[in-house]
Structure formats: structure tokens, C-alpha cells
């Protein structure tokens, strides 16, 4: 009898629970007409992997291949035309890099001795002393652990000993060209390696890992995107501008593009990419993105609206920075527009960092640990 009662009670509880769920299956709104929309994380991950991330990596590979070709031509025939072409290709590759530098997850994550894609392909500040030593001795040690002696920004260092093509050609002797060729080939090969996984099986794995735990695609992707925003704010703006605690004044030599003086373009492209990733693509195209994911949860619509307003403030702050002189010089003279940009970027951070992860129930950190 006792057993029968128990089974009856259990069945009733199960029935009640299932029944209530079937009744309330679509009812996850807040009852004030601001209903969260249905959202499927598989579709979300698939859209990012197949329409955006995969293409970003392919585009970077293509840009770095073109750069290597242009550098090969320059090395075989060092003249003004070929140097200008190499510089144009460098600009394309570096801008494409701003659209890819957040992909430090999956194939771009640290693995064994290989560091993240960010550290492998374009780390800075450079160790110019060691670069010069390598050039002088012609011992390139291209696979050593000194990543600050190679990568995209070292290519810039060699291509831009002077802004003027003619003056630069005078400095670009054979030993420098040899090193340039070696590091551009290394860059090309490394990018191809990263790209191979992205064009192969990784997108399927990325989509299949559809949870929200620390190691899930959603969390890894989010964490690296957020980290990229912090790199932009801290390393590209605050530190060279001397706005970091303990700095006595600006340290403009810490800008990303210290030699080509393209730092503002790079920073702007970096921010535009952060925004594009947030929306899942260019803002004029209706693509599925983090904003849609947020709108699917209660309070998300409000957060998206506040974020959009603050993104606009950051864009306005970027627009306020004069295009001439260079960002480096503006930082040197402590131009007030830089501090305005920092403030606006800092205001945007909590929306991206704490509010977004909190609403979506994402693990905000790679460093796993237990919780209760």
C-alpha cells in the first residue's frame, strides 16, 4: 500500500510538472509587452562559425599570403614601387588582423609551445635591439621564443624605417630584406596553419560544443572577444597615452603602429570589429549576434539599448580625435580627446563585461574553479 501511494504521488508530481511546462512553454516574458524572443544557440554558433569567423580567418590568410608575395617581389627587386606595394599589402593585412585578433580560442588558443594567435602573429612592443642583432648576425632563429622579434609589427618595423619610400629604400639593405622575407614567410605559414583548422573540422566542433560552461564555445568566444576589447582599451590607448597608474607621462612608443603611424586606423578598425562581432556582422546587415542572444533573455533588450548608446559615444570619441598629427604625437602632447576616448571606452566596459555575462549565464573566465 505504501509503495502504491508513493508511486501514485510520484506520477502525480510528474504529471503536474509536465503539464505545467507544456502550458507555460512559451511564457518566458516579463508580462509588460517586452517579451524576450525565442533564441537557439546552435543557430547562433553556426552563424558565427560559418558566416563570420571562418571567413575572417580565410581573409587574414589571403592578406598575409599577399603580403608575403609583395615582400618576395620587394626582396628580389628592391625599388620604390615594390616597397610601396609591400606597404599597401601590409596595411591590408594589418587591418584584416584587427578583424581577427580576438580569435584566441579553438585553433587560436595556446597549445603546447604554441601561444595564442594574438601572441604568435602580432605581439608588441617589439624587442628592436634583438631584431637588429638578428639582422646583423643574419641568425634569424625564426622559431625561437622571442615572438616580439617577428610577426606583423616587426614587418612594419622593417618596412617603415622612414615614412618616405625613397629614404626607407636607402636603409633597406640586403640583410634587412633577408630578415623581412624570413619573418613574412613564417607569418604566412603560421596563419595557414591556424586557417587549416578553421576551414577543416573546427567549425563543426565549435557548433557542437553548445553549452555555456567555462569550456563551451559560447564562453570561450565571449571571453576572447571581451579580452580583445580590454587589449584595445588598455594596450592601444591607456598605456601609450600615459593614463595608467604609476606612469609619469605618455609613453607614445608603446602604440601599436609605432613606425607606420597607423595606430589610430588600427584602433578604430579594432573597435569596429568589436562592434561587428557584437551584432554578428556589419550593422547594416540583419545577422544573428550577441545582441539577439541578449534580447532573448529578460532585461536583455534594455541592456542592448544602453550598449548601443554607449557604442555610439565611443564612436563619437574616436571621431573627435584629429586624423593629423598621428595618434602617437597626440598622445605625446596629451591631447584631451584621448582621455575622452578612454572614459567612453571605460564606461562601455561593464555592459560588455559584467552585465552581458551575467544576463546570459556565461562563465566569464577561462580560469575554472568550483563555485557555490
Amino acid at each position: 500500500m505504501k509503495k502504491f501511494n508513493f508511486i501514485l504521488l510520484f506520477c502525480f508530481a510528474l504529471f503536474l510538472f509536465a503539464g505545467l511546462n507544456s502550458c507555460g512553454g512559451d511564457d518566458n516574458g516579463d508580462g509588460n509587452g517586452n517579451e524576450p524572443v525565442e533564441f537557439d544557440r546552435d543557430t547562433f554558433l553556426s552563424a558565427y562559425a560559418n558566416s563570420l569567423l571562418k571567413n575572417r580567418m580565410a581573409d587574414l590568410t589571403s592578406a598575409n599570403n599577399n603580403l608575403h608575395s609583395a615582400i618576395s617581389t620587394l626582396v628580389s627587386t628592391p625599388n620604390a614601387e615594390n616597397l610601396a606595394a609591400a606597404r599597401d599589402n601590409y596595411l591590408s593585412a594589418a587591418l584584416q588582423w584587427q578583424r581577427t585578433n580576438f580569435m584566441n580560442f579553438g585553433p587560436g588558443a595556446k597549445e603546447g609551445f604554441r601561444l595564442t594567435i594574438f601572441e604568435e602573429l602580432a605581439i608588441w612592443p617589439l624587442d628592436t635591439e634583438l631584431i637588429e642583432e638578428k639582422i646583423m648576425t643574419q641568425e634569424f632563429a625564426i622559431d625561437d621564443s622571442n615572438r616580439e622579434t617577428r610577426g606583423l609589427l616587426t614587418i612594419e618595423y622593417i618596412l617603415y624605417p622612414d615614412q618616405s619610400v625613397e629614404s626607407a629604400l636607402l636603409i633597406l639593405d640586403q640583410s634587412r630584406l633577408n630578415y623581412l622575407l624570413a619573418i613574412s614567410e613564417k607569418l604566412k605559414n603560421q596563419t595557414e596553419e591556424f586557417n587549416e583548422d578553421w576551414q577543416g573540422n573546427y567549425p563543426a566542433d565549435f557548433i557542437a560544443n553548445n553549452g555555456t560552461d567555462v569550456k563551451s564555445s559560447t564562453s570561450s568566444f565571449y571571453n576572447e572577444w571581451l579580452r580583445s576589447y580590454e587589449v584595445l582599451k588598455n594596450m592601444k590607448i591607456i598605456e601609450p597615452a600615459g593614463l595608467k597608474a604609476g606612469q609619469d607621462g605618455p609613453e607614445p612608443e608603446l602604440v601599436e603602429s609605432n613606425h607606420a603611424e597607423l595606430s589610430l586606423d588600427f584602433a578604430r578598425a579594432h573597435f569596429d570589429n568589436i562592434v561587428e562581432i557584437y551584432f554578428g556582422g556589419p550593422t547594416d546587415i540583419n545577422s544573428i549576434g550577441w545582441d539577439d542572444y541578449l534580447k532573448s533573455v529578460e532585461g536583455g533588450e534594455e541592456l542592448v539599448n544602453m550598449t548601443i548608446t554607449q557604442i555610439k559615444s565611443v564612436q563619437d570619441a574616436f571621431d573627435m580625435i584629429p586624423s593629423s598629427p598621428s595618434l602617437k604625437e597626440l598622445m605625446e602632447e596629451e591631447h584631451p580627446s584621448i582621455e575622452v576616448l578612454r572614459t567612453e571606452m571605460q564606461t562601455l566596459l561593464p555592459y560588455f563585461k559584467s552585465e552581458m555575462s551575467s544576463l546570459l549565464g556565461l562563465a566569464i573566465t577561462f580560469s575554472s574553479s568550483d563555485g557555490d
Binding site: N28, L243, A245, G246, Q247, G299, P350, S358, D370
Partner: protein, 423 residues
């Protein structure tokens, strides 16, 4: 414990938690506790593992239980950001275990004659463990009796949809009915499960629900070994006969492998001198009075406990809120110095930064660390302030701490922190 230590080492957490960080957040009154360095910390974990093993086989139990309590509690005291309710629970239980004769039935200690074998112990020894478990569950249940949990199903309505891809049950987590069902059932479970475990008629059903509940929370949330700990420890509520039958079956099973496992059939009672018995009972009463009162200290502080977190820790408020923050520190030398922003990641790992950003006492500790750091770097009178935007249960961020306050002038204490802004 052995599994937990192995898992900790395998995940590389000794380096991540104790060695790599530049700065460790301290427990109030335990600022002297420091990590021992890489070899020292590995040695501590080896000792912890071996002491747990010694307790399992009953080898020099008393020493082993003291070592387990000290080494485990030491590792927990190193960094406040790794505070977990279940670690605190394990520390308390391992402390109680020092005084319980757990090696006096089937153990190497009895086999070797180091101690005599018994099969009866005073009831208060069982009740002390039951009481500890009851405090955890009932306080955890009562803490859920708040508006957000009961009326708005928060934070489960944030956490559960994130698990919508779990096989079979995943789709249910999108429904608000599920969020409310989990909230209410969770509250009812925590508050009343002890009573159902105490009643012989409902004990089996209650135990099944313990297993289901903790398995479910183990699947949904990253809570480590907590589900295993709770499932195993509630067996203390089973009768002495149930435990005896269990041991007989275990003995029969081990016999197949020719492993001796002798159970005494005659009644042998645990003998304690009257004085010792009295001392232990009175000490336990004091221990439990403290355990009952300490979690209630938050009533002494004004403001929303979920926001200020004054009295939040050590009060069995388990999985109760979704809170996250972004804390930006600014330092200047003197009131008129040039202010600079701190990059938290130069001093803290991701986990530390995440925990610090929404907990006022940690914000204060980090501010003092920064002040001292920049003093060493040459600043004469560092001023440190913080802009800490915190979101509680998915609400839009608000400033947690007055951003104008120079935190270097604030001292940590038990009194109310009036520099925390009202929620």
C-alpha cells in the same frame, strides 16, 4: 577528499590558485596565512591526501584527522576569493571528526591493537554530525525565503536557460514554470529535507530525493565535489542497524577477495571518562551555539545583504544570487596628483578579479594592496579609489562603492561599511 585532492592537482589548480597570483585576498584575522611555494603546496596536498587515506583505513586516526583538518583548512585560508560554502562545511566536519572515534569499529588501528574495537558510541556523537548537516540545509532553505527567489524565480531564471542544450531536460529550462518550480522545490527541499531524513518512514524517499537533487545541481552548476559530499554524509541519518547491515555486506564482499574485515558481534561500548564526556559535550554545545548564531550576524548590519555582503559568508547562502561586477581602480599621488588607471590583470588572475569586483571587503583589500604597491614604487601618499559597477540578479549595473572615497583611509573591520552605496 582523496578524489578532491587528485582532481585539484590534475587540473593544475595548485599553481593557478596558490603560486601564480601576485596577491592573495586574506580572511579577516588570517592575514598571516601565506602559500608555501610550489614544493610546499604540493607537500601540503600530499599530506592532505595521505591523511584522508589514513582516515579511510583507520590508520593512526587521531593524528590523521588532525592533519586533514589543518592542511585542508590551511589551503582554504590562503585566498578568500576561493571561499566556498562547501569547503567551509568540509573544514567544520573534519574538525568534528577529530573528536569522533571513527577508527574504533573496523580499522587498522583496531587490527593492530592500537585501540580497542567497539560497536556502540554515545548518541551525541551521531547527533553532532546530524546537527551540522541540519544547520547547512535549514539555513540554506531559510535564506531562499526572499522576494527575488520566491516571487521572481531569480537567479534560476537567469541560470537555467543557459542549460537549454542538456539532453532530454534541456528544453524545460527555457520555461518560467521550471524556474519557479526549481526555486520553490529548492527552498522546500533545503528547509525540510532534514525532517524527512529523521523520520524512519520517509527516510528512504528523502535519501532518494537527496541523490536526485544533488545530482541535478552537480550537472547544472560547477560545484565540484559538493554533491558527492552531501550524498555520502546524509547516510549518517540511517539507523545503526542499516549501517551494521551495510558493514556485514561489505565484509562478505571483501571476504571474496580474501581481505580480512572483522566485525565484532558482542556489544562493546565506547567508554569516556565522566570529565572528558562532560568537557566534550559542553564544547560541542558552544560550537553549535556559535554555528547557529554566526550566520545570523547580518541582522546587525543595515542595507541589503545581497548588495553589501556584510555577514554573507559563513551563513550557508548557497547559490542564491547572480552577481557580477567591473571594478576599475584609480591611483594618484596625493589629492592633487595625476590619476592613473590600474590594470587589474597585472596583479590578479581572472577568478580573483571576478570575485573581487563585487565584494566590498575584497575591493578594500585590493585598494590597500595597490596603495602599498605604488608606495614602494615611489609614491609618497597614494590615493586609491574605485569605480565598481555591479549587477545583481540581472538588474542594470549600479555603483557599489562611493567612487570619491579614498580607500587608503578606510580600515577593514566588523563595523558597517558606510562607503558602500545603498541599493
Amino acid at each position: 577528499m582523496m578524489f578532491s585532492v587528485s582532481r585539484f592537482v590534475a587540473l593544475g589548480w595548485i599553481e593557478d590558485h596558490y603560486i601564480a597570483p601576485v596577491f592573495h585576498f586574506k580572511y579577516y584575522g588570517f592575514s598571516w596565512v601565506e602559500p608555501l611555494g610550489i614544493y610546499g603546496m604540493y607537500l601540503v596536498h600530499v599530506l592532505l591526501f595521505l591523511s584522508a587515506l589514513a582516515i579511510v583505513v583507520g590508520y593512526r586516526y587521531r593524528i590523521a584527522s588532525v592533519i586533514m583538518f589543518l592542511t585542508f583548512t590551511y589551503t582554504e585560508l590562503i585566498d578568500l576569493t576561493y571561499y566556498l560554502n562547501h569547503y567551509y562545511f568540509v573544514s567544520l566536519v573534519s574538525f568534528l571528526m577529530i573528536f569522533l572515534p571513527m577508527n574504533k569499529a573496523v580499522s587498522l588501528d583496531t587490527k593492530s591493537g592500537r585501540t580497542s574495537s567497539i560497536n556502540h558510541i554515545p548518541a551525541w556523537m551521531i547527533y553532532s554530525l546530524m546537527m551540522m548537516i541540519a544547520i547547512v540545509y535549514i539555513y540554506a532553505g531559510l535564506a531562499k525565503l526572499n522576494e527575488n527567489w520566491m516571487i521572481h524565480a531569480l537567479p534560476l531564471s537567469i541560470w537555467l536557460p543557459a542549460h537549454d542544450k542538456l539532453p532530454l531536460i534541456g528544453p524545460l529550462f527555457k520555461s518560467s514554470i521550471t524556474h519557479y518550480a526549481f526555486s520553490w522545490l529548492g527552498m522546500l527541499y533545503d528547509t525540510f529535507i532534514i525532517f524527512f531524513l529523521l523520520l524512519p518512514r520517509t527516510r528512504i524517499l528523502a535519501f532518494v530525493s537527496v541523490v536526485l537533487f544533488h545530482t541535478m545541481t552537480g550537472i547544472l552548476f560547477q560545484i565540484g565535489v559538493f554533491p558527492i559530499v552531501m550524498i555520502c554524509i546524509v547516510t549518517i541519518f540511517f539507523s545503526a542497524e542499516w549501517h551494521r547491515q551495510f558493514l556485514i555486506r561489505l565484509s562478505q564482499w571483501l571476504d571474496r577477495w580474501h581481505i580480512p574485515f572483522l566485525l565484532s558481534k558482542e556489544v562493546k561500548k565506547y567508554q569516556l571518562s565522566r570529565v572528558r564526556n562532560k568537557v566534550m559535550q559542553n564544547s560541542l554545545i558552544l560550537f553549535f551555539v556559535f554555528q547557529l548564531l554566526f550566520p545570523l550576524r547580518h541582522f546587525l548590519y543595515p542595507g541589503n545583504i545581497f548588495w553589501t555582503e556584510q555577514g554573507y559568508r559563513f551563513s550557508w547562502r548557497v547559490m542564491l544570487m547572480e552577481k557580477s561586477g567591473t571594478a576599475t581602480f584609480f591611483v594618484k599621488d596625493g589629492p592633487n596628483g595625476k590619476e592613473g588607471q590600474v590594470f587589474n590583470n597585472e596583479f590578479l588572475n581572472d577568478h580573483q578579479e571576478k570575485q573581487m569586483a563585487f565584494q566590498p571587503d575584497m575591493i578594500l583589500q585590493f585598494a590597500h594592496f595597490l596603495g602599498n604597491h605604488f608606495k614602494e614604487k615611489g609614491m609618497t601618499k597614494p590615493h586609491v579609489r574605485v569605480e565598481s559597477y555591479v549587477t545583481l540578479n540581472g538588474a542594470p549595473s549600479r555603483l557599489l562603492v562611493d567612487p570619491q572615497v579614498n580607500l587608503m583611509e578606510v580600515k577593514e573591520s566588523w563595523i558597517h561599511k558606510d562607503w558602500i552605496l545603498r541599493y
